[in-house]
Amino acid sequence: MGRLAAVTYYLLVVPAAAVARLVRDPLGTRPAESRWTELDAPPPSLARARRMR
């Protein structure tokens, strides 16, 4: 499992990462004056909570 994951990392993840970083800042690490973000509303109902994970 570990070896397969390592091969996957270099063949798929590294090229995908290079493309992704061109498009956006995946972790939001660029300088900012504030780091607050609006959070998603919590599940308002039991029914919604049962669907989410």
Partner: protein
């Protein structure tokens, strides 16, 4: 009767908690049964204990609530892998190995283990579980909420408000900007184990002077609105399993990371220590004092923002950073909050309590019926059991004659009372300046 089991596991301090008709019946960390410190595995023993304590058999639970959302957390890990490639191979491999196992199948595992339908397993946001563990165990009818930890799904700190029928977090700071991970980097640099030795950094701080605050502030930017940014050039927690700080972090203080095996010496504890040994320890103590001072400034700024946005004079605080009792004290000293409640297990183990209380009060809409007034929700031990354990290890104990003997004992458990009951807790619940 409505019986709800809260469960936290797979990161650190796995735990289970049982809430019956809105009242906490039992809560325990898996480590108390497995004897593995900070055991993160599936809390089978803690679950069995909670069911036993509640007089429940398999299949008799109404709901089981997990303390975070694994799929959302996996998305954050995937984004981190993309952001750090090609330097994050080791974390990627470990993630695949861990998540290909049972983490993504936690709903099935819980349902099968507890004999309930899968749709009876719910998931609550990690920081909502933290917030609920504080507010829904507090004596307050309404309060500002502040959660601060390493990281949940994406969030590392959040503020919101608790009131009747609602526990709401409306603003948060996202990974990788994290006060918990900031402090853990210093924990590792000072030779202690991450997620274990943070209290030692807090304890080391008074031995030093915060003369390196400027250096520490180069690693973290505290913004005017209470939020903060880490400078990731100084950290490696997002791309390395070996250590959470970068080579640039090591250069900051002019000393190498402390050897974990090397003793920390002072003139009082080691009268024979050389001047060089004393000086080296003093530098590490100064680093601890400086990191602690910056953490306190950051936590106070978050609390001030929580007060500004809510106007409440009561604060409920949770998350692993709330284990830093010195920083908690600073909140009362340096913010307008008059009352503060910190649950005895504000970290991930307490998330099991919060998840269950959140489901009971918010999702099921049942009235609040519980205030946590002590920390002893774990297994009780009869005096004979304690004597047997002492005898088995060649130890003995004599009854204590203190007037306090007979009250509930902590996890080490032996008093002259009839039993000692273990807690989930790092401390007793904190309620400062009670109304």
């Amino acid at each position: 009767m409505t019986a709800i089991l809260g469960v936290s596991c797979y990161f650190h301090d796995a735990a289970a908690a049982l809430v019956r008709d809105g009242v906490l019946v039992a809560a325990a960390e898996e480590e108390r049964f497995s004897r593995r410190k900070h055991d993160s595995g599936f809390p089978a023993h803690a679950i069995d204990f909670c069911l036993e304590q509640g007089g429940l058999a398999r299949g008799q639970l109404d709901w089981v609530v997990f303390y975070e959302k694994p799929v959302v957390k996996l998305r954050r890990i995937a984004a981190t892998v993309l952001a750090t490639a090609p330097h994050g191979r080791a974390p990627f491999v470990r993630t695949v190995e861990a998540w290909a196992g049972e983490r993504l199948r936690i709903r099935r595992r819980l349902a099968e283990r507890l004999g309930i339908p899968r749709e009876r397993v719910l998931f609550v946001d990690h920081h909502l579980a933290h917030a609920a563990s504080a507010f829904l165990a507090s004596p307050f009818e309404e309060a500002a909420l502040l959660t601060v930890d390493g990281v949940g799904e994406w969030t590392t700190a959040a503020i919101g408000r608790g009131a009747d029928g609602a526990v709401t977090l409306d603003r948060g700071i996202r990974f990788p900007h994290s006060l918990g991970l900031f402090y853990s980097a210093f924990t590792a640099f000072l030779g202690f184990e991450v997620n274990e030795g943070e209290y030692k950094v807090m304890g080391m701080a008074p031995y030093g002077e915060p003369r390196l605050v400027d250096e520490v502030r180069r690693t973290i930017d505290l913004h005017d609105d209470g939020s903060f940014s880490l400078d990731l050039d100084f950290f490696a927690f997002h791309r390395s399993l070996a250590r959470p700080y970068s080579p640039r972090f090591e250069e900051l203080f002019g000393v190498p990371a402390k050897d974990p095996a090397a003793p920390f010496v002072t003139r009082e504890t080691h009268p024979d220590a050389t001047r060089a040994e004393l000086e080296r320890s003093r530098v590490y103590a100064d680093i601890a004092a400086s990191a602690q001072a910056v953490l306190e400034d950051a936590v106070v700024a978050l609390a001030r923002e929580a007060h500004r946005r809510t106007g409440s004079d009561s604060l409920c605080l949770a998350g692993g950073v709330a284990l830093n009792g010195v920083a908690n004290r600073r909140i009362l000293e340096r913010t307008p909050f008059v009352h503060m409640f910190v649950p005895p297990a504000p970290g991930d183990s307490g998330g099991a309590v919060g998840a269950a209380l959140y489901a009971d009060h918010v999702l099921l809409g049942r009235p609040r019926r519980f205030v946590m007034e002590h920390a002893y929700w774990g297994r009780a031990y009869a005096r004979a059991e304690i004597d047997d354990a002492l005898q088995a290890h060649g130890a003995s104990a004599s009854p204590e004659s203190s007037p306090r003997a007979g009250s509930s004992a902590g996890s080490r458990g032996a008093s002259s009372g009839a039993h000692g009951r273990s807690g989930t807790a790092a401390s007793s619940p904190t309620r400062a300046r009670p109304p």
